[in-house]
């Protein structure tokens, strides 16, 4: 049996099974394997050492990331408080005349949904609901910009059309530059009526047994430099006004079905006699049961005229 055959068979050779020449060859092979093993060992030791260093570097990077993340979280937490503080509360006078319930939920710490209450220069109440494109910090920054614009112009104008057009014209270049736009639902009310402009938002007015869905013929803020349309509706004691963004109605269930405007409006109409807060709770409960997960910022504002 040759040396190769012996090695292949795995049988321990008996004395005389291998020649002296084969023994020498075996010795060389063994030394060759020893050398190879030494080289392999050195290679793997260097590789292992490198792996250890790589893990240490990775650990350090992880710690750096954690530190950076903590700083960002702190900043976002502050930003969230600032944004929350920028959202309005009804003035005492408004609260005495309007029963209000609001559900406002941002997808992240800060977001792009925004609502606000104002007084026009003639003393009328104005309410705006906006949805700035995108989410997060950039949308929140645009929100603060728009708030400042509205606050500025409300000192001089009274018509929702003129107010929204002015904000659109003055904000147009800025919004183009930052590649943002915003839906707008803006109303100004007096003792007997409300006037509204709607560019992308959702609005519903319930008066007695009749319901009116807001006309949505206009573009979002920052999309076009075009005139906006203004509509007037009677708004008397007991009437219910609902304004909302797309966060609820475009949310989907597990089957991929939208919650829908129709479902929300029907629920509100069915419960229109209830207090605003109860209607709001019913809407949120129904939405929460329906939706798979929140996928957008949400603003739902319900108010009833008390006087």
């Amino acid at each position: 049996m040759s040396l190769e055959e012996l090695l292949e068979s795995g049988t321990v050779p008996a004395k005389g099974d291998i020649t002296e020449e084969e023994l020498v060859k075996l010795f060389r092979k063994f030394r060759g394997l020893q050398k190879k093993q030494e080289r392999d060992q050195a290679f793997w030791a260097a590789t292992n050492e490198n792996l250890k260093i790589a893990y240490e570097k990775l650990d350090e990077k992880e710690r750096e990331l954690a530190r950076a993340y903590a700083i960002i979280q702190d900043d976002l937490s502050v930003a969230s408080k600032i944004q929350g503080a920028l959202l309005p509360e009804l003035s005492k006078k408004m609260a005495s005349e309007l029963e209000l319930a609001v559900y406002h939920k941002q997808l992240a710490e800060v977001g792009g949904d925004y609502y606000d209450f104002f007084n026009t220069h003639s003393g009328s109440y104005a309410i705006g609901v906006f949805d700035i494109s995108g989410h997060g910090v950039s949308a929140a920054l645009v929100m603060t910009y728009l708030k400042a614009q509205f606050m500025t112009i409300l000192e001089n104008l009274d018509s929702p059309k003129e107010i929204v057009e002015w904000v659109n014209n003055t904000s147009y270049d800025f919004l183009k530059t930052v590649k943002k736009y915003a839906t707008v639902n803006f109303i100004v009310m007096n003792t007997t009526a409300l006037r509204y402009v709607s560019g992308g938002g959702f609005g519903l007015l319930l008066s007695g047994k009749s319901s009116t869905v807001f006309e949505k013929r206009d573009a979002f803020l920052g999309l076009r430099r075009r005139p906006f349309h203004e509509y007037e509706l009677p708004f008397k004691k007991g009437d219910l006004l609902v304004m909302y963004t797309d966060g609820i109605v475009e949310a989907q269930n597990g089957k991929g079905e939208d919650y829908s405007v129709q479902r929300l409006n029907n629920l509100i109409i069915k419960n229109a006699k209830k207090p605003a807060k109860d209607i709001l709770d019913l809407c949120v409960e129904d939405y929460t049961k329906f939706r798979n997960k929140d996928s957008d910022d949400i603003t739902l504002l319900i108010l009833r005229k008390k006087v």
């Binding site: 060389r28 030394r31 060759g32 050195a42 260097a46 050492e49 490198n50």
Partner: protein, 180 residues
């Protein structure tokens, strides 16, 4: 950098750079985009400044605390590629044949050219086939750990030798070779 060689600068054959880079990739020393960048724009038949090869060498040296055994393995892997997928089989018929190929620095001269003082040599100085001993003297600008791997890989590839050991600890430029 161009395919044309310039006598005034040290240049290395594209296939050598490709071989070196491919060995690094095969051994997972570099991966991903970094690996792709190593061989980007390198044509096997072109000639490139020696610095290009140095760049790749630096990738290994900077990544490893102890780069010696790694560069040795890269040299071995490079020669296995040269033998199995390149012209090696045609040039070298057995392990000792690889040593013969280094006579008068001919093997080295086929992959590096430029001013004589910069090119150096990689030359078989002594060969005792019966006794299984040889010596190569290298004055090339290549990394000496890698060159040790090149000798081991070049002699191992034909698979006819049972034992190969190459030492250059005392003088990095002198490779004392034992084989059987």
């Amino acid at each position: 950098m161009g395919k044309e060689s310039k006598a005034t600068e040290l240049v290395v054959f594209g296939a050598t750079i490709q071989g070196f880079a491919q060995a690094c990739i095969n051994l997972n020393i570099v991966a991903g985009a970094k690996a792709e960048n190593l061989v980007e724009d390198i044509e096997v038949s072109g000639w490139y400044p020696f610095e290009k090869l140095r760049e790749i060498e630096r990738v290994v040296v900077e990544a490893y605390e102890n780069s010696g055994p790694i560069l040795e393995r890269v040299g071995m892997e490079m020669m296995l590629g040269w033998y199995n997928y390149g012209p090696g089989k045609e040039i070298v018929k057995n392990g000792v044949g690889f040593l013969h190929f280094q006579t008068g620095s001919q093997g080295y001269a086929s992959v590096v050219k430029g001013p004589e003082n910069l090119v150096g040599s990689f030359s078989l100085e002594h060969l005792d086939e019966e006794g299984g001993k040889a010596r190569i003297h290298s004055t090339t600008p290549f990394n000496k750990d890698m060159e040790r791997g090149v000798i081991i890989g070049g002699m191992t590839a034909p698979e006819d030798l049972d034992y190969i050991d190459v030492k250059n600890e005392e003088n990095p430029q002198i490779f004392e070779i034992e084989f059987a």
